[in-house]
């Protein structure tokens, strides 16, 4: 599982110029989209003094740390140190960069250098993400007839294909749902599935 891709939300939930917190296995990440739409995922730790970069702000094609405003370009290299405006930051100052891509409306993250293939979700369209207050076992229980392939659970809803990309966060599970059929129907069904999984926790 060393270089696997982990889903970190749907493209539609990360607009231009926004940064959010994410995770790859145990590593905490800052995932952001530049003004022109480029996606990046970095270790959530500013190389200067360790502030979480997910608390930072996007300006154009850079993400700035909220503590001292150090700005980093989409390649992770520091491009500006406001305390020393005349200085060109040394190349060694660089955020720890992960691979970050989006396919079929899902944002995926993997460590740099990993060459594992992305799960194939072609033909499906993103519906929405939900957070289930339950463990993976309760979620599995609420999905009879679904087949698990790594992080993706596949099944049918009234004859239309549904895929759920599952992100296990311990006490809760993030589910990013995709489908071929009616989005409203998939969305309603998701609500029911969530209730079932969360009741499973209480039972």
């Amino acid at each position: 599982m060393s270089g696997m891709w982990v889903a970190n939300g749907l493209s539609q939930d990360l607009p231009l110029g926004v940064v959010m917190a994410g995770a790859w296995q145990g590593a905490e990440l800052a995932i952001w989209r530049s003004a022109s739409g480029r996606l990046s995922a970095w270790n959530d730790r500013c190389p200067h003094r360790g502030m979480r970069l997910s608390h930072g702000f996007v300006r154009g094609e850079t993400l700035s740390c909220i503590y001292h405003g150090w700005a980093y370009g989409t390649d992770g290299a520091c491009s500006k140190i406001p305390a020393h405006p005349a200085m060109v930051p040394p190349a060694a100052i660089k955020a720890e960069v992960y691979q970050c891509v989006e396919a079929e409306g899902v944002i995926w993250v993997a460590p740099a250098g990993s060459d594992v293939d992305l799960p194939d979700l072609s033909g499906l369209a993103a519906v929405r993400s939900v957070t289930v207050q339950a463990g993976l076992a309760e979620v599995a229980h609420a999905l009879p007839g679904f087949v698990c392939e790594g992080a993706v659970w596949r099944g049918q809803l009234d004859g239309a294909a549904v895929a759920l990309v599952v992100q296990d966060r311990g006490a809760l599970v993030r589910i990013h749902a995709l489908g071929t059929g009616d989005r409203v129907k998939v969305s309603r069904w998701l609500d029911g599935m969530m209730r079932l999984a969360e009741q499973g926790v209480l039972a």
Binding site: E28, D44, R45, P47, H48, R49, G50, M51, R52, H55, S64, C65, I66, Y67, H68, G69, I81, P82, A83, H84, P85, M87, A92, I93
Partner: protein, 281 residues
């Protein structure tokens, strides 16, 4: 095991004005339960085993030493200067290393980003060269000739000015800053932060001021300082790692961080490692 050097220092544990009779203030110092209360008109700091800690009452606060005091509490001569108004600003609880709280207090480069339009504003972000030394006579860290542009340096400042600062680390978890005073150009405003190390990753910060300012209502002064520290808290609770690294490890300091570098070096040299991370990570 807490190093003896740590135990032999003074730490703030309460505001004098708020100490009442038993059970008094139930709190923690270096991970141990303590109680601060009034008994026969005296303020007592009592440890978990019933032992009494050494106590000093100064600068509006109760200071306790869990070991054998290595020295007297540091002096702030301005506290006794006629005409100064001494203001206790209450307490801010922060989920961070006490050392991180002090380091942040010594930092100016964050003003435009964390205290935007109050203590700093873009594009005035440059931190010029300043001087830092570990003074051998007093055994304190000092930063002097620090200049910074500020849109509203104090409650009594109307517009933007270049403020001069001096910073001083007087104890492992206490620092004092001196800044040019908008009301009296030849004097310095004095602001302290006294940090109570509850545990290595949890502290209470007591800001304190000695100002030449007769006009600003007390409530406004306190509110101003509280606002500043609440802004700092959002930073301090989100730094990785939680403990202060005494060796840079993954961190990259620049010239603007000279005070922080000296503070970390001073802590390391004196073995004041409570709240510090010794392994580079």
């Amino acid at each position: 095991m807490i190093p003896q050097a740590v135990l032999n220092e003074w730490y703030p544990v309460a505001m004098i004005a708020l100490v009442g009779p038993r059970p008094g203030r139930q709190t923690q110092l270096l991970g141990s339960d303590i109680a601060v209360f009034l008994e026969d008109g005296q303020i007592v700091v009592q440890g978990a085993k019933g032992q009494r800690l050494a106590v000093t009452l100064r600068y509006g606060h109760v200071w306790a030493c869990p070991g054998t005091p290595a020295h007297d509490l540091f002096p702030i001569p301005e506290a006794d200067q006629p005409g100064r108004r001494l203001v206790d600003c209450g307490v801010v609880r922060v989920k961070c290393s006490p050392l991180r709280a002090v380091e942040n207090f010594l930092d100016i480069a964050h003003f435009p980003f964390v205290h935007t339009d109050v203590l700093g504003a873009e594009p005035h972000t440059e931190v010029g060269r300043y001087e830092v030394q570990i003074r051998e006579d007093s055994d304190e860290v000092w930063a002097t000739k620090v200049h910074f542009y500020q849109p509203q340096a104090a409650k009594s400042a109307a517009g933007g000015i270049v403020t001069e600062y001096m910073y001083r680390v007087a104890a492992p978890t206490a620092a004092v800053l001196y800044k040019t005073c908008p009301n009296q150009p030849d004097a310095w405003d004095v602001i302290g932060i006294f940090v109570q190390p509850l545990t290595e990753e949890f502290c209470e910060v007591w800001p304190w001021m000695a100002l030449f300012d007769d006009t600003t209502p007390q409530a406004d002064l306190i509110q101003f300082q509280q606002m500043i520290f609440l802004q700092d808290r959002s930073i301090l609770e989100n730094q990785i790692p939680r403990l202060l690294p005494l060796d840079p490890g993954k961190e990259i300091p620049t010239q603007a961080d000279l005070t922080s570098i000296a503070y970390r070096r001073w802590l390391k040299r004196k073995g004041l490692t409570y709240g510090a991370q010794m392994v580079a990570a």
